[in-house]
């Protein structure tokens, strides 16, 4: 029996996209989508189209920049690069995530009374 696939938690796609760009450097939308799917080991349901809507938002906020270039297969593709503001935002969001997930973990953990 395979493990059920989970939808991406609302609001975390931006975080994952920023993290991917930090790790891989400049990357196109398809590459970002594939990377998230791979990291999630196919346990995450990624609607690839929503990656592009997420990228529109990130460009508007100037956390990433976009530029047309050529892919590894020689195809024309739009490459996204993390900006300085994006890096700062990523740091802030990661810290926030750690804090929240820590709290949730503590809440879910059964009490180990003395």
């Amino acid at each position: 029996m395979t493990e059920a696939r989970s939808p991406i938690l609302q609001g975390t796609l931006d975080l994952m996209t920023l993290k991917t760009l930090e790790q891989l450097g400049p990357m196109h939308g398809y590459g970002i989508a594939r990377r998230i799917e791979q990291i999630g080991e196919d346990a995450l349901v990624v609607n690839q189209g929503t990656i592009y809507l997420c990228l529109v938002r990130l460009v508007q906020k100037k956390w990433v920049t976009a530029e047309w270039g050529t892919s590894e297969n020689g195809r024309r593709a739009k490459f996204y690069t993390l900006t300085k503001a994006g890096r700062q935002q990523l740091k802030a969001e990661v810290e926030n995530w750690d804090r929240i997930s820590g709290i949730i973990a503590r809440v879910l953990q059964p009490a180990t009374g003395s």
Partner: protein
């Protein structure tokens, strides 16, 4: 915040250049699909399957393109424009609603924006001076009497010495002086040129420092000019220099005469400078310790807040320093407090600042509430029309439009109408402002204060915009929410049938109520309108063009009690001498000192032994005009004596102790209203309130006066009883006089002023104008008032008609099948109409009957005369007939549609 701004800029850019980014986005999705397809082919999938899988994983391309467009641009703006376009189309289609609703909204917004703007004009704004918002007034406020207490020069000196939170303390008072130009060195008796009374600011030199405006030519006033014995100097305004001294570049050093004194011109102020209020002449306020009090009117102590000090800080210091000893001694009794007020507030409000602020808030709230009645009416019409569009709305709902989307579309429709109305209203307001400005600039006292800007302000435009949004919400939200609610489902069912909807009991009640209110208010509104314009239409009823009227005054300022009595004696003898000299002039046929007919103050009297019958809650005895006149009044105005006698010389010489011998003359209307058939001669009357009678000083009741004569009414002013009292000359200052002259009285103005100023250089004749001109000017104001009233009445009538139209339309729609069946069964047009409208007519009759009853009650309890109207016999039946006519006209269209119903169609579709 920065991120939000970035997003807004990016979205705006994308909105302005939608094509480029859409193509870019589509290209990017194409590239994605190609890469995904390649990957899948590499993984061994057949090309067709690879392409399919790639598309499935990406999601619907067209939906993504649309979502991308929404994420990039300003989607709500797109839908807003769409709604605006649709609204314009709908407003054009329902032109009746547009006209009626637009007119009603425009009138309400005109009233609201006008009140708002004039309140700001009067009480708001800052001085257009360097740091004008830091200029303040210092005053001693009498909290018991609610008025500014007199301030002495000693108070001023004390404040100057002790206060640190304010600086550049000074004062001014306005005096009137006769101006004689170019005649400075000529003896007054030889003056032949024009004499003109002008307002002059007697001001400390610090006033110019406070204003921080240097002189254009020469210098402004200096502290040395204030010393007793210093040479009299004057600083003049730019427009005086240009218009009366021909812009003479060598004006400094020349002399002009102001009243008794010849002044040397030491400077000319730049254009537009009119500090402290609207002044063009400035002379020094003498620092003489015996200089009298700065009287409460037209005088003020001003200062500038020291750097870093707030108004509250200055108030704390002034309170701590306390009142000057003289005022302090009176403090307990009269409750005096020293106050620091913003300069404009101190000059424009007679009440406490807190009260003014509340008053302004209250009036703003009232003008906003004023929008509710017309908007409620428009809401009825919008709802009525929305119900006819039920099928369209239901279809849009079924196709996926959200309820919010439908509501917002109806709101935008009303918003478009309201914004159009607001634009028209602002245009009307601008015309009114131009009119007010030109009227004020021609006024004798120097025009509007220099800080008043008569152009439309951004604040007023925003307020009108706010009113428009409020009006749109009030007119659309309730009907929109109601029409898109429960009935949406019915609308869907109705798609397949032709069953009409009912207007609903609430709305029907509102229409009936509207009819009742319109009819109730109509008679009084017409009577007020007629009362207002009547004098203008009929004229004064005598040859007003033969009269010249003026105000006579002399320098009275600040004399103590004994000197005041001497001044009054002198004023009386000057009046007598003026009359003697005038009557010796060719063309002068008579002069009288009195108020003009129609301009007299009102008061209440009682007649000994007679109980005045009340009309409703008011008594005619409370609507009397009281005119104190001299012995020439009846002759000069050619008012015939009906019985008894005119005043005699002895009547004018009574002293306070002669009570019982005092007499009055009354007019015909007074006798008719208060005495009927009884003989008025020999009866005694007195003021109902002793404090209104100058002769009753200090007594609990007014003395009795015997009626000795009855005179004819002045035709245009026959609406009220008038009581004439004898008035000895010199008693009232300033005095109003009227002169009967030969042809072209206005040519005598200069001669008149010259005669007066030769008698005494301080004797001033101002506000001189032909009497017909005075009445004409009054008529202009009255006509504006009556036109505004007519516009309101018209809009109320139109709203009623529109409401009735909606009601009858619905009745016809609702009963189409029934009409079809009856028609098929052979009912005649008459019977058909009677059956269709039986119920509607009944509702209308209820409204009309209610309105008639209320109108009759108003007629009894609030006679038109009380509110400035003129009773018109039979006005209530006439108004009812008009309302019935309006009702019939409103019902005609729907009735004709009802008769045109085709029985075959209705029976087939039913």
């Amino acid at each position: 915040m920065l991120t939000l701004l970035r997003v807004a800029v990016a979205r705006l850019r994308a909105y302005l250049r939608p094509g480029d980014q859409s193509r870019d986005f589509e290209d990017e999705l194409e590239a994605h699909l190609a890469m995904a397809e390649e990957d899948k082919i590499r993984q061994g999938l057949p090309p067709a399957e690879a392409r399919r899988m790639a598309r499935v994983e990406l999601g619907g391309v067209s939906q993504l393109v649309e979502a991308g467009r929404e994420a990039r641009g300003l989607p709500w703006l797109d839908s807003f424009w769409l709604d605006v376009k649709l609204s314009l189309r709908m407003l054009r289609k329902s032109w009746g609603l547009t006209l009626v609703g637009g007119l009603a909204m425009t009138i309400a917004i005109v009233i609201g924006a006008t009140v708002f703007h004039f309140l700001n004009l009067a009480f708001g704004g800052t001085l257009p001076l360097d740091e004008g918002d830091r200029v303040v007034a210092l005053q001693i406020w009498d909290t018991k009497e609610h008025r500014r207490h007199n301030t002495s020069m000693e108070d001023l000196e004390r404040w100057r010495a002790s206060l640190r939170s304010v600086e550049t303390i000074g004062a001014f008072r306005t005096v009137e002086r006769n101006l004689v130009l170019g005649e400075g060195s000529v003896p007054l008796a030889a003056v032949g040129g024009p004499v003109e009374p002008v307002p002059v600011a007697e001001m400390t030199a610090s006033g110019f420092q406070l204003a921080r405006v240097p002189a254009l030519l020469g210098r402004s006033l200096e502290a040395a000019d204030e010393r007793v014995g210093a040479a009299p100097v004057v600083v003049i305004g730019h427009d005086v220099w240009q218009s009366r001294l021909s812009g003479d570049p060598a004006v400094v050093g020349k002399t002009i005469r102001l009243g008794e004194t010849i002044h040397t011109v030491v400077g000319v102020m730049p254009e537009g400078f009119a500090f402290p209020i609207n002044h063009r002449f400035w002379t020094p306020l003498r620092a003489d310790p015996s200089t009298p009090l700065l009287t409460t009117e037209k005088a003020l102590v001003f200062a500038r807040l020291a750097p870093g000090v707030t108004l509250q800080g200055a108030q704390v210091e002034l309170t701590a320093v306390g009142l000057p000893p003289i005022a302090g001694a009176l403090e307990a009794e009269t409750q005096l407090v020293a106050q620091v007020e913003p300069y404009i507030v101190a000059l424009t409000s007679d009440g406490d600042r807190g009260q003014v602020v509340w008053l302004i808030r209250l009036m703003r709230l009232m003008v906003i509430l004023l929008l509710i009645p017309p908007c409620a009416n428009i809401a009825i019409l919008v709802y009525a029309r929305t119900v006819t569009r039920q099928e369209e709305l239901a279809a849009r709902y079924a196709l996926g439009a959200s309820r919010g989307r439908l509501v917002s579309q109806l709101f935008v429709e009303m918003l478009v109408l309201a914004i159009g109305s607001a634009a028209v209203a602002l245009g009307v307001l601008q015309l009114a402002l131009n009119w007010a400005e030109s009227g004020l600039s021609e006024a004798a006292d120097g025009g509007a204060p220099f800080w008043m800007d008569f152009s439309l302000t951004l604040k007023t435009v925003l307020f009108a915009g706010g009113l428009a949004v409020f009006a749109a919400m009030a007119a659309s939200l309730v009907p929109a929410i109601k029409a898109t609610g429960r009935q949406m489902q019915i609308g869907l069912h109705a798609l397949g049938s032709r069953t009409g909807k009912q207007l609903g009991a609430t709305w029907t009640t509102l229409v009936v109520f509207q009819v009742a209110v319109s009819l109730a208010a109509l008679p009084l509104a017409v009577e007020i309108g007629w009362g207002t314009i009547r004098k203008g239409v009929l004229g004064p009823g005598f040859a007003a063009e033969k009269y010249l009227t003026a105000r006579l005054a002399m320098d009275f300022e600040g004399k103590d009690g004994a000197a005041e009595a001497e001044n009054r004696r002198r004023f009386a003898s000057l009046q007598a001498e003026l009359v003697r000299q005038l009557e010796a002039e060719p063309g002068f046929l008579g002069t009288t000192f009195a108020d003009l007919p129609g301009d007299e103050p009102w008061d209440t009297i009682e007649i000994e032994g007679v109980t005045t019958e009340r009309v409703g809650i008011f008594s005619p005895a409370s609507l009397l005009r009281i005119n104190r006149v001299d012995d020439a009044f009846f002759d000069v105005f050619e008012i015939p004596l009906l019985s008894g006698r005119h005043f005699e010389a002895g009547d004018f010489q009574l002293k306070a102790g002669d009570a019982g011998r005092a007499v009055v003359v009354v007019n015909r209307t007074l006798v008719q209203q208060l005495l009927g058939d009884r003989n008025p001669l020999g009866r005694r009357v007195r003021y109902a309130a002793a404090e209104h009678d100058p002769a009753a000083a200090g007594r609990a009741t007014s003395p009795w006066y015997e009626i000795v004569g009855v005179v004819e009414d002045v035709p245009a002013h026959a609406d009220r009883g008038t009581m004439y009292q004898p008035m000895a000359r010199g008693l009232v200052h300033p005095a109003h006089l009227a002169m009967r002259l030969g042809p072209k009285p206005s040519t005598m103005v200069d001669r008149l002023r010259l005669i007066a100023s030769r008698l005494d250089p301080t004797l001033r004749l101002d506000e001189i104008s032909a009497l017909d001109e005075v009445y004409r000017e009054q008529a202009v104001g009255n006509n504006v008032g009556a036109s505004s009233l007519a516009a309101v009445v018209l809009s109320v009538l139109l709203l009623s008609a529109a409401g009735l139209y909606a009601l009858t339309s619905f009745t016809v729609n609702q009963r189409r099948r029934e009409i079809g069946i009856r028609s098929a069964l052979g009912a005649t047009s008459g019977r058909l109409l009677a059956s269709i409208f039986k119920r509607t007519l009944g509702q209308f009759a209820v409204g009309a009957l209610g309105g008639m009853l209320v109108a009759a009650l108003i007629d009894v309890y609030l006679p038109a005369e009380v509110v400035g109207g003129w009773s018109i016999p039979g006005i209530i039946p006439a108004a009812t007939a008009l309302m019935v006519l309006v009702g019939i006209l409103a019902a005609t269209g729907p009735a004709r549609r009802g008769l045109r119903v085709d029985p075959n169609t209705e029976l087939r579709e039913g």
